[in-house]
């Protein structure tokens, strides 16, 4: 029954493996950058907003506008807009490295919003408690925010990774490489339907595994949700 799948695997197996490796490479690099910059920007967005614990709307408002603009530009257009930037940075607007640049930009915006949301969901009492202990700003972040919001943060990061995988399939249009490129070239232009379905199947599987891992980790570090024995 799955002859077509095995036949496809026999012919395209190597290319599929290379495609996945490229996709995960791109997503890993983009997510690492997004994790660092996006978390920083997300914290600034929530902590510096009006009424936040370090209120300075002059910083938060423009930042929020930039993040929203990035999130509202369709990714395929962002790839085109970012072409000159990629050319300036790495000398070419095509290929896997150019793709990483656009993926990082959108990743930063996604992560920033998720982090902002996770932090604004923290019970305000946590901030009162922190202040009553005379914490520094650094300690407020490391000992209070990152500890109390770690479960929603992990879930947010998981969904950011999955979004980046989805976005990464679009970079085929700039010959970005990865599994999306293979699907586009062979599956669409060459109309190789079995190959397309094999790729879709594998991607569904990959996303499921990532979500399961993320959810399990989030549940493991969450001590708030359900009662536990001491």
């Amino acid at each position: 029954m799955f002859d077509w799948a095995f036949g496809t695997w026999a012919r395209f197996g190597d290319q599929i493996i290379v495609g996945f490796v490229e996709t995960f490479y791109m997503v890993a690099v983009a997510f690492s950058i997004a994790l660092v910059l996006g978390t920083g920007i997300g914290m600034a967005l929530s902590l510096c907003s009006r009424g936040g614990p370090m209120a300075s709307p002059l910083l938060a408002s423009p930042l929020a506008v930039v993040v929203n603009i990035i999130r509202s530009v369709p990714f395929i257009l962002l790839l085109i807009i970012m072409a000159p930037v990629a050319r300036a940075l790495i000398g070419t607007a095509y290929g896997i490295y150019a793709s990483m640049i656009s993926l990082s930009v959108v990743g930063v915006a996604i992560v920033a919003r998720l982090v902002e949301q996770a932090i604004s969901d923290i019970n305000p009492q946590v901030f009162h408690t922190a202040r009553s202990m005379g914490v520094s700003r650094f300690q407020l972040v490391t000992e209070f925010i990152l500890v109390e919001a770690r479960s929603p943060l992990i879930l947010g990061f998981t969904s950011a990774i999955i979004s980046l995988i989805a976005y990464s399939t679009v970079v085929g249009v700039i010959a970005g490489g990865g599994i999306g490129y293979l699907a586009l070239q062979e599956g669409f232009y060459m109309w190789n339907q079995p190959l397309m379905w094999v790729i879709i199947l594998l991607m569904v599987l990959a996303v499921q595994v990532i979500q399961l891992l993320g959810s399990a980790l989030a549940r493991m570090v969450d001590k708030k949700g359900k009662s536990r024995k001491s």
Partner: protein, 246 residues
């Protein structure tokens, strides 16, 4: 020890501005238990948060041992002042993702104390509040009274000079309330710490305090020592002073 001069605080929000405190002046002497009473919304929590420097007043100032603390005080100096006090909040204030002993040890961690030292100190305090056996439990599993005892242990772990308690018993049944209040009394005797206790329950302040400050709509209605004679039954705020308010 603490002098409060003409403290005022209003909150401006969407609904306009609300005057939480107006022109409040008084002093707290070292080692006393001062009660702050008043109806809901009278400004009790606001006053406590100003006294513990968790926020700044709109006007007026607070002096500690004669030294004013104001906008010229550096952030670092202010942090040191804050760290000499500790607050037990109205309602649940433990951190969910840390277990009991980690919660109690947290203020010491913030001061850079090593793990073994701070957990030892935390365990001493858990012993003091009678919860050593719950050291590894997470806060979600504690009863209201247990959570409040952990909060008291956490407040005491840094040997504060002054302890602020905001309605420490308002969410508890009467027997648990009495246990907590006796624990606070024992704290006062053991550590000689100055205590400021906010409550809207007359019986609580009557049981605990030497002196009471009665707030009404952000102003001091009356301040002074209270009638402690046990046979003297009180029902209204006015009666705790021991004689009719004139």
């Amino acid at each position: 020890m603490i002098t409060v001069e003409n403290l005022s605080m209003d909150f401006t929000g969407k609904a306009g501005s609300a005057k939480a405190l107006s022109d409040v002046s008084f002093a707290i002497s070292a080692g006393e238990i001062l009660g702050i009473v008043g109806k809901s919304g009278a400004g009790k929590t606001t006053l406590l948060r100003l006294l513990s420097f968790q926020m700044r007043p709109n006007s007026g100032r607070i002096l500690i041992d004669g030294e004013p603390v104001d906008h010229t005080t550096s952030a670092r100096a202010l942090r040191r002042i804050v760290q000499q006090s500790a607050t037990v909040f109205q309602g649940f204030s433990l951190l969910y993702n840390r277990n009991v002993v980690e919660n109690v040890a947290l203020p010491l961690k913030l001061r850079g104390m090593s793990r073994s030292q701070r957990e030892e100190k935390a365990r001493d305090l858990l012993n003091f509040v009678g919860l050593a056996h719950r050291a590894r439990a997470y806060p979600i599993t504690l009863s209201g009274g247990e959570a409040q005892r952990v909060a008291i242990a956490r407040a005491l772990v840094t040997d504060p000079k002054i302890l602020f308690l905001d309605e420490p018993t308002s969410a508890l049944d009467s027997q648990t309330s009495k246990d907590i209040l006796d624990l606070v009394k024992r704290t006062h005797q053991t550590y000689g710490v100055t205590i400021v206790l906010v409550s809207h329950q007359i019986e609580v302040v009557r049981y605990m305090c030497d002196r009471v400050l009665h707030l009404e709509q952000g102003r001091i209605k009356r301040l002074g020592p209270i009638q402690k004679a046990p046979q003297f039954h009180v029902e209204t705020m006015e009666q705790i002073w021991g004689m009719p308010d004139v």
